[in-house]
Every structure is written in C-alpha cells, then in structure tokens.
C-alpha cells in the first residue's frame, strides 16, 4: 500500500489541496480512498497552504532547455505541486480491488516548443521488472488529441470520434535504458540458457525466435530511445502505439516515491497528437499503476480531467 509523502525537506512548497467536491465524491467511492485523500489534504493544507486551493494546474513558461531527464532538478522541486486525486478505475472490467495510489503530485513547465510534466507519487516498492505474474510501475498523462473537441472527449480514454493522446512512462523501459535490456536472465539469475538465438546468428534472423520482437510489438523491442511511449486511444481497450515516437522523459525512485518527467513537443508530428499552444487552458488527465500490487492495464488509478493553464510565452 502506497502512502502519501511530501516533497524534499527544506524546499519551500505551496501544496494545493484537492477540491472539496472531489473529496466528497471520493468519500462516497470508498472509505479507503477517502481516508487517503483527506489525510493528504489535511497535511498539505495545514503545513504549507496559506493561499487556498488552486483550481487548476499551471504549466509555467520557462525559457531555454527544460530539465526533462532530471526529475530531481531544483527547477522542478522548487516549483509548487498540484495535487491530483486518483480514483480506482472501476468503470471497465477488470479492475483493481483497491486504491493504492490516492494522490499524484503534478508540476508542469513549457518553453514554447516543448511541454514537460513532473509526476510524483508515493510507492514503497520499485517494481521495474515485468515477468510471470509480475508487473511494473507506470504513470501516464492524457490529453484530448483535438483541442476543438476537448469538451466532448471522455476521460475514459476517449471515443471513436474523440481520440486521446496518451504518454506512458514505464519503470521497465526506464530500467532497460538505465542498465541494459532486461531479459528472463535478469528476472531469474540462475536460469539456464544453453545459447540465445542472437549469439548464433545476426539479430535480424534471431528475431524469428522472439515472435513479439519479430512482428514489431513495441514492448518487445530492444532499441529503446525513451522510457515514454506515445499512444492514441479511442476508448477503453483501444490503446495503440503512435507511429511517431517523440516523447522523452526519466523516472527515479528514491525515498519511497517515484519522480517521473514526461515531455513532448508542443507541436508533435503525426495525426492525433495533442497540439498545445501557450495561453490555452486545456484538460489533462493522469493514470498511475503500482506493479507491486499487480496493477497493469485497466487495473489502475485514474484521475478526472484537470484544467491546465498553459502560461503565455513571456
């Protein structure tokens, strides 16, 4: 069970609380959810919040390069976080039995060409390997692909006429990038492989022994350039990897929490990518998976749309 924790000690943070209305909703949704959220809200409110609850996430403008591969950067940690209340996904089957990540802290910045999200949540276990009955941690952001249709776009991963653009960071992909592609040998150090196909022949031929890899499944590929996968969806169960992968990011796990940055171009290439313009207010949603609690796919926490004010370029 994840617990809520505040940011690094010593940094001056202005914590925003969840909206009261949403808290009431959660209370009705389940006692566990309510307990986590109210507890978190009280801590944040009593400790730091003197200005009242912010109703929207502010995506600040910052000229120059953004710290997109440094979640620990002071550029992020000195910025106040917007607290997003997470709900257990229980609309589509199958769903997780309980809410384990009640809150996600979000910070957002843009530099006029790139937009980045800093996502922080409490998780005592770092689950970065996916194996038999074993799942990895992950987090995702979601925007309506078409800003003009945003009001009609459902938070439940869009619909046929209202696609959503989803960017998912995976702990497993981060691990592959940080310390090499993980295989069954990493999950079971004493596993015996007499020889791996790629040791006997060129990789192009060896791929035939790895069906997912051979047919181009993004999860099976070994030449990852980013821990973030860009996808399009038109409803539950329709998640499809985008042909144009442009997102970058980085996740680090320390002090019983994940801190993850997901960044994308504000004008991405290809159809069905959210185009973000400075000065806009647009809706954004989030999802979090705790692999250690067997969460994957539809077994997750999600958030309702949150308004995000994208600051104008100064």
């Amino acid at each position: 069970m994840a617990t809520d924790s505040d940011g690094p000690a010593g940094t001056q943070q202005s914590e925003t609380t969840a909206e009261v209305g949403r808290r009431q909703f959660l209370k009705r949704a389940g006692a566990a959810a309510a307990a986590g959220t109210v507890g978190a809200g009280v801590i944040g409110y009593a400790a730091t919040n003197k200005r009242g609850a912010a109703k929207s996430l502010v995506c600040g403008y910052r000229a120059g390069d953004l710290p997109v591969v440094d979640p620990a950067s002071a550029v992020w940690t000195r910025r106040s976080a917007f607290k997003v209340t997470m709900l257990v996904q229980n609309i589509a089957t199958p769903h997780a039995p309980a809410l384990v990540v009640p809150t996600l802290k979000v910070r957002a910045l843009h530099n006029g060409t790139q937009i980045a999200f800093h996502l922080e949540w409490a998780d005592n276990s770092k689950d970065e390997l996916s194996g038999l009955a074993r799942f990895n941690d992950a987090v995702a952001v979601q925007l309506a692909a078409d800003f003009a249709k945003e009001a009609a776009t459902g938070v439940t991963m869009g619909a046929v006429d209202n696609p959503v653009h989803i960017l998912q960071w995976k702990a497993s992909w981060q691990s592959d990038l940080d310390s090499g592609q993980k295989t069954s040998k990493d999950i079971w150090p004493n596993i015996y492989n007499d020889v791996r196909p790629e040791q006997l022949m060129p990789v192009d031929q060896a791929k035939s022994w790895y069906p997912g890899w051979a047919v181009g499944n993004p999860l099976s590929q070994r030449d990852k350039k980013s821990p973030v996968e860009e996808m399009v969806a038109v409803g539950f169960g329709t998640l499809t990897t985008h042909k144009e992968q442009e997102a970058v990011g980085k996740g680090i796990h320390d002090r019983n929490r994940w801190r993850v940055v997901i960044a994308m171009p504000m004008k991405g290439n290809g159809a069905n990518k959210a185009q973000v313009t400075p000065g806009q207010t647009r809706q954004i949603a989030f999802a979090v998976w705790d692999g250690g609690e067997d969460q994957r796919g539809s077994r997750k926490q999600y958030a309702l749309w949150v308004p995000m004010e994208v600051e104008a370029v100064a």
Binding site: N90, A92, T93, P94, H95, A96, P97, S130, G131, L132, A133, R134, F135, S172, T183, S184, I187, W188, I191, Y192, N193, R196, P197, W209, Y210, P211, G212, W213, A214, V215, G216, N217, L219, S220, F236, G237, T238, L239, D294, R296, G297, S298
Partner: protein, 376 residues
Amino acid sequence: MPDVFNWQLDRPMKYQYEEARPQKQIAWIFDTNKCIACQTCTIACKSTWTSGSGQEYMLWNNVETKPFGFFPTGWDVKLLEIMGPDAWKDGKFAGQTVFESAPAAERVKGHLFDADHWSHPNLGEDEPAGEAARGTHIDKLPHDMWFSYLARICNHCTYPACLAACPRQAIYKRPEDGIVLVDQERCRGYQECASACPYKKTMYNEDTRVTEKCIACYPKIEQGLQPQCVTSCIGRIRLAGFISPPGKIDPKNPIDYLVKVKKVALPLYPQSGTEPNVYYIPPVHSKREYLRQMFGPGVDVAVDTYLKTKEDPQMLGLFMLFGSTERIIRQFEVKGSMAIGYDETGKELVSVPVTEPSVVREYFDRVNQTYVHNIT
C-alpha cells in the same frame, strides 16, 4: 453479458461476446488409453515453436500423470477449488461457469499462477493414486491401483476464457477454423488471459514481454495437415479434424463420429463453460468417480462403449486411421477389412487394415532352448 449456447453443458450460458461459431471448428480426439507419456508430442511442439529464449518454461503441449501430475503444478486442483463441487443434473450443468461466477470486478473467475507453479513439469509423473500392498494383483476394471496420462494442448475453445478476459481484444478466434491466437503485435502482456484460462495454456514470454500460446500449428492446418503433436505421436493416440456445430452430425466425419455418434470422447472439465475442443477417450482403468470429475457425466457411456471397440468394426477401423496420415481426414468409411480416410474433396488419403496381421510365436524357443517373453 450475452447468452450463448454451450452444448457440452446442454444449456445457454453467459459469455463476454455474442455467439459466433466459426465456419469450421478445429477439434482433436486424444485416446488416453494408448498414451505412454513418451513426450514425443511435447518435444515435437517444443522444437517447432518454443525453442527461443523467454520460452524455456513453455510447454504448449505437455503430458502429465493423473491424479498427481500437473503442468502447471496444481492447475486442475485449483480449478476445481474455485469452481466448487460438480453440479450435473441429468446431463445438464446446474452449476456456474467461470464466466457466470466472475466477481464484479472481473470478466472471468480465474487466478494467476506465479513462476513456482510453472517450474516442475514432471512433478507427480508415474505416481499411482495409492500405495500398492505386497501381493497386490491388478485384475479388474477399473483398477484398484491406477494412474493415467493426460496429454494437453490449448483447447481452442468455442468460448475462450482468454479471449473474454483480454481487455484490449488482442486474442481472436479465427472464423475460418476456430483456432484461437494471441496477436503478437497487439498484446501488452497484462496476463489477464493467463489468469482467466481454466486450463492454464497461455504463457507469458519474459523476453518479449507478451503472451504466447499454442497456435494449433495453423500453417499446417492451412495446408490440410494435422499439427505436429498429432503427426509425431508414436502411439497414434491423436486425431485432428473439424467438429460440426451443435445440432449437426456428420457420421462420416471422424470427430463427429466419436464425439457425437458414439459419445466415446469427452471434453476436459466441461463445467468451465469454455466449450473446449480437445475430446478425450477416458482412461478405462481409472476410478470412475475421478473420471466423472474430469470429463463430466458422459464418462460411463464413453468407457462402456470403448470397452466394446472390438465388436464395432466402424469404430475399430477409425481408431486404426489415427496416425496413419499427416493429412486431415475429413471423411472416413470402413469397407470390408479396410478403413479408408478421405480429404475434403472426397479423394482417398489412406487405407489401413481394420485388423493388422499378427503372428503368435511359440513361447519356447527350441533353437536357443529358452523361453521368449512378450515385451509388448
């Protein structure tokens, strides 16, 4: 959930999707009485499809000993545990299937085995159901002391639990032959299928991070050939073909003849509700109660019919056609002393004698002055 008809339960049941039977439904007959657990099928499958890294533990085909052998460990014990006691009334299933008993948050009542369960494929091999006392004689059917072999592949179910459970429809059943496949491009490794399959025949690949399963050797099926596990079987216990939909019987179709006319071959744990399409001739020497638990209420008829095979030239002839050709036998007939198999165009594929010529040797070898043992 829509209502669909499950002929093995003899009643409608709830399923995730509407009833949509394929144009042809692949099916197998496995005669457990002839299986010696040589694992030639297992190796034929393994060397054809799962010799890569990440597939080490996978046995799309396996042969286990009943009652104490399993792959994965305890799969059927766990299935019976979550399904509760059998509830058959006059040949109709009165209990709840894995779909009907699913909790609100799930599509299928299942469970996910961890790696320990997949690590002991030969556990319980050749272990009998009880201890033999000194001087025990096995002289009647069913035997007091018994075990039997159960060869297992994916059942390519009519109502696959794996397919129902996949939240992104990455599993599909081919309309042309009913083969159930995992789309290797679309699967995201959630393992919902592995949790749902009552027979535990979908398997996660830790190197590609997506799930794989028996593909019924579809490249062979498409050419009119039987799968590797069938054609490699040295005991000639297997036959692959196509079963007619409920309400239709073609007595010349070998699968229909054994399943629907003679009712000698039965589905495994039909109470799961998936309408599995591997049909087993039950092991006649095993305890009846155990067989009823495994194959449902049709066991007594199946065993009694099988024991009279030698009085039935039609059935005997068909058994002789098992393992006689690599091609799929769509029609068969017994003419005089010969059994003949035909393809879908009516062309003869193979003919075999119903009774093979045999020679009885003298048990005493006069030349070498020794007794000759019958080793068969």
